[in-house]
Subunit: 433 residues, 2 copies
Amino acid sequence: MERVRTTELAAHVGERVAMHGWLHRLRRLGGINFLALRDGWGIAQAVIDDPEELAKVAPLHDESVLALEGLVTAEPQAPGGYELRDTRVRVLVPAEEPPPFELNKRVLKPSLDVFLEHAPIGLRHPQKRAIFRLGAGIVHAFRSYLRSQGFTEIQSPKLVEAATEGGANVFPVDYLGRTAYLAQSPQFYKQIMVGVFERVFEVGPVFRAEPHNTARHINEYVSLDVEMGFIHDHHTVMGLLTEVIRAIIQHLAESHREELALLDAHLPSVPEIIPSVYFPDALEMISQATGRDVRGEPDLAPEDERWLGAWAEAEHGSDWVFVTGFPLAKRPFYTHPDPGDPTYSNSFDLLFRGTELVTGGQRLHRYGDYVAALESRGIDPTPFASYLEVFRHGMPPHGGFAIGLERFLMQLLGLGNIREATLFPRDLTRLSP
Amino acid sequence: MERVRTTELAAHVGERVAMHGWLHRLRRLGGINFLALRDGWGIAQAVIDDPEELAKVAPLHDESVLALEGLVTAEPQAPGGYELRDTRVRVLVPAEEPPPFELNKRVLKPSLDVFLEHAPIGLRHPQKRAIFRLGAGIVHAFRSYLRSQGFTEIQSPKLVEAATEGGANVFPVDYLGRTAYLAQSPQFYKQIMVGVFERVFEVGPVFRAEPHNTARHINEYVSLDVEMGFIHDHHTVMGLLTEVIRAIIQHLAESHREELALLDAHLPSVPEIIPSVYFPDALEMISQATGRDVRGEPDLAPEDERWLGAWAEAEHGSDWVFVTGFPLAKRPFYTHPDPGDPTYSNSFDLLFRGTELVTGGQRLHRYGDYVAALESRGIDPTPFASYLEVFRHGMPPHGGFAIGLERFLMQLLGLGNIREATLFPRDLTRLSP
């Protein structure tokens, strides 16, 4: 008998089918025994009439692994509209103890700390796993759109000889007797690969040895990186990013309705043109509106981002707003200056619901400009020799961006902590599970 | 004027178009100046008649970045059948010196060492970049097939508290004052996630601190990992793997003809059922055929793999052969024994053209079996506590496999060294570029 998934019952009404999964819940209601079976995709209800069958499951702990067999019946009262009747049970693997917390409540009760401690079990909760299925959807749509635009996927090394930004916050690795570092970003490699493929993307882990403990930072996260050649300036990159975001939201809307409903999440719309504010103008607007004088500040504070998010929502009905032209001195050395005013840069952040989600911009593409930029910042160019080599051999104007996957999920779902959007977060205190 | 790619000329005959790219070669043949322009996808030929235009490009080093404009003309003699005439040239970024080796020869001349030293430039060579476009194709087809079968993509942490196999060969990381390790595989996480999604896959870096220097090992590589629940035994996994391989080969055949031709690569066919040999039988066959008595050996030596590859080719016309039932003691502690003879295991290797490409098998799924397996191997279970926890809460029979991406490319293309199939290899001596 072929196995049928819990989400496929509608196609099998009147047939006897096999289902596999976990004992999500067994309860007696109005004299009837209902077994909720959870498999990898959903939950289905089975009615257990036969005392012999009931005797098999009654003593089991939740999460025991079962094989059921029964008659698929339309039942408007059943969750999903179908249930299994005349159910026979085979216990494949009994659980040895009750779960550390109740996985069959609509919302999980334990604190985040307790949840994370037992994440290998807790992630089985339908709401929790929905988060990560949405994460997989984001990554899929990201790749799929970029492939359709001629981008090639790359896999760059995570063990590197030098820190990407020439700064601190890198994890040292004992590499066969030498010191290596964990890559903070695939920045150098994606730029190098523009010389090869013109258009590249990468989905991979990045590592930040920042010893802070906030609700929106973790020390290892998944970065969705893009880089493209032959751009006009950073606006070309912002145009691409807008379409990437649009493709992701559209894919979630089309293919992840159930997960979104389970999490009571509301997808943002993506305007044809995302509103954009020039950095100095943003500071001016914030100063005038709030009375807090932020003119001359080198960067946006979190409250500034929130103000701009609210402004974009109120003025443009947009969950999204670009801020462009950050001061050059505050951006990494490879950032291209604004040709009209080199105090500022051809860079941007994309804020989503008042929080920075994406950073990007145009990069320098001439060797001499790199040498000058490193020198003016007092950075030793030696460790960057093989990165700098490509700029002696013809690099087109290029730029790109990076989206933090967990940050995206957190903002999209209104989660209070980025750890809720990370399968197994790494932070000041957590290296396991 | 919209930019047209070098591979799109056929659709624009009779039009004036813009093309962007790199000066691949400029040469004079029979009194005509031909400029080969390489962009991210191919190479197109442009005829330069006007002495003023010629004067712009004649002094340039190869790899200078150009914008061309010209009339697309069908020309049977031109590579690809089309060329640009009446060409106007704009030099976007002149190269500052000649490339470290000639990128416009059909085959690159330098030694592997010299090539790797200058890989950021060398990868622009059409044959070299074809290798990595095929790599991207493998990864795409892998994901695409698995998604179609209900698998969910996961991203597991690469910073871990304990070594996966409880053994050596892990890179230690200075993690904010503690010692962490780089994950040798996502094994524990993919098993944990079977409890959540039933079917999962991951594409990500893995790290092996093995201090050897061979043509088929590197210290960081890309692992294509799969794990699935509710299997009968390892044969269920082998069935899935066969279809994954079939989907990959089919995708390359359909979407990567040009890259395959450029590399003179011949795709293997994938038999309906890949031939399979039981490990003890394999040793018996090898012993009888070669006179080398390998009966009782705990594992296959490289020459044994080659013999089995040749046998599968001769006997079954197959580039592929499964070896099943490796001795349990030689496989990791989570390996499921053969219920019929627990000296052996429900594990397999898939050999491709005489080299191990994939390792996989059924895993233990009961808590007590894990405790016993760790104890019998003298491995301290403490560091595995949160991994082991899931087996107290109902884990179905499950199994999976891992394909090494670079190894696959190497075997598929007949490359002599795995470093040729790795963008920026990490080994005993290489941490850069």
